[in-house]
């Protein structure tokens, strides 16, 4: 069964917005990483959805797979950074790590 691409794009936009909101609003660095995952998935959704327009080609799916791999490695590095930051600042609230200010 095929969903129309239009619906997929709406879902993707919604997902992107939610991810963005999560990234901006959440007071926890890990939650921000989750938000980033949402954003990446929204992009994946778009890749897959637009692949419908070219049947016979699997370029979109391939890219989505690559993105998932990259996301995994990104999440690994991100979590490591979060751990280091927590160890150093004794907090994981992103608002309190504001040394970039000056």
């Amino acid at each position: 069964m095929m969903f129309p691409a239009e619906h997929l794009l709406y879902l993707s936009a919604l997902l992107f917005s939610v991810g963005m909101m999560v990234m901006i609003v959440k007071q926890n660095t890990i939650m921000m990483l989750l938000g980033i995952e949402l954003l990446l998935n929204a992009a994946n959704l778009n890749l897959v959805a637009f692949n419908q327009l070219h049947p016979g080609l699997l370029t979109g799916q391939m890219f989505a797979l690559f993105v998932i791999v990259v996301a995994v490695s990104e999440a690994a590095i991100g979590l490591a950074i979060v751990l280091r930051v927590y160890k150093y600042y004794q907090t994981s609230v992103p608002g309190e790590v504001n040394e970039l200010k000056d």
Binding site: M23, G95, L100
Partner: protein, 642 residues
Amino acid sequence: MENTLLLNWFIELALLAPLASFIVCFFIPDRYSWAVPILANLFLLISAISSFCIFLTMPAHETYLLQFDWFRMHDYTLQANLELNRLSVIMLPLVSGISFLIHLYSIGYMAGDSGIKRYFAMLGFFTFSMLGIVLSDNLLLIFIFWELVGFSSYLLIGHWKEKPEAAKAAQKAFLFNRIGDAGFLVGVMIIWSNTQTLNLNDILSVKEIASWQTIASLCIFCGVIGKSAQLPLFTWLPDAMEGPTPVSALIHAATMVAAGVFLLARIFSLFTPVALIIVAITGSLTAFLAALFALHQFDIKKILAYSTISQLGFMITAVGTGSESAAMFHLVTHACFKACLFLGAGSIIHALHQAQQQTHQSNDVQDIRTMGGLRKKLPITFLTFLLAAASLSGIPFFTGFLSKDSVIGGALTWGGQEFSWKLIILMMVVATSFITTLYSFRMVWYVFLAKENGETATVVESPWIMRLPMLILALFSIWLVVSWNPFMVTGWVSTFVGKLPHHNFTTILSTGVVSLGLAAGWLLYARQSAPKSALFLQRAFNLDSIYKKLFGQPTLHLATALKRIDRHWIDGVLHFVAFSNASFAHLVAWFDRHIIDGSVNTIAWTAGLVGTFTRSFQNGKIQLYIFWAVAGLIIFLFFLLI
């Protein structure tokens, strides 16, 4: 040629040796101050010897100029020449000789004085200035030396500066001289503006009589009144007796006060007949009144001081009556015998002072009432004092007789044969000569001849170094020094001072007057045990207090009034100006603070506000950065797509 070179040397030595004495005595270190009297005497001896050499080698009636230019102004060159003429040739040895003798005397008199360096330095300086007056041929130069003479006199009167009377007397002398010198300066200026020269020979060569000459000569006469202690400026001279006695002898009897008479004789041809009449009246009045005052003094130095004023009045009268030669003659003889009298007085004071120190008494050693019978105690002083006093009172066979004779003779010639007011002056001169005899007799009687007071038992004669100058000066009171004929001047004097008036009548007249004076003195004083005095005359008509009331107090009142005006009006205006200035400054300050600073501050504040606002985006919160980035992206897309 060699002769002139020698003469140049003599002139320079005579003038500059006292100056060298001043410099050496002033700058010698304190530990060598014992050498000061010896050095000063050596220098003065050099000066005196050179002066006598000039006197002996210089032919009479010739002038000799030692020229050098002082400074140039535009096309005018002021020459500071030294001129030898018949007047300066006789004044030179007189001044430096008497100065040397007094230096010699001072060794004894001032022995042990703490200010001996200053004393001898100033004596040297005074002698230099006086010789400067005598030698200058330029009115400006004379004026400068004239002031220097006044200045050194001021310092010497105030030598014992810790005594308040001495300090006051010095100030008074200086002030009175200033009053006269102001006139002198005006006179010099009048002469300059009319003749465009200050050279005396040029000024005196003007033949026609102009009206400015009367004013100019009277102005210069003002200076003479101050310096020669004439009426009405004579009261400084008796006060000047606070100085050391040798100073009184040198300055206030023999030389400085005579500078006025010398100047009158020097510029005699400048005087117009009208000016001469005023000169004669002033002189004769001074002579008469001062003689009266002298008759009523108790202080031996004050008697001599008033006597000096009186004799100076004589000389001024002689100038006024047209016989300046007689004035110069009287100046010379008076310098010798008056210096001798003062040195005698100094010797008496010195001896009494020494005696008092032994017996621990403290009487006034200058008061003639405490003296008496000193004839046996001080034989040399008595002898010299007697000779000089005889000369002063004009007894025949003494120089004073001859010179006084020529003064009276001059007045007689001037007064003419017919009866006129001019005879009053002649009569005053004769009366003065009578009183002179009287006070001389009174002085000698109470000091030396009267009964002993018992307080003079331990008095001993002064040292030889003081007796020697007195003896030399006393010798110069004897007629042989100036003329072979004791009744009429014949000899070297008239070649220097000029033709002297002589009347056989005056010789008889003055002999008569003198013998009358002596007789009156005998009758008046020989029986009294103590001298009497009228307080009014002793205080010289209370002239000092009159001056104080007439000039001193109005000046003070004027000063008070001016002070009030100053405080109320001038200070008021000043305060108002200051106040308004300050108010305006406050206004400006307000404007500055609020308007100018305000605008600047506003700009700065706005910039700060903008800064703070933009800074708030850079707060280090990653999420806000993301938010703004997304917001920016959205806005960008919004504008891009629609």
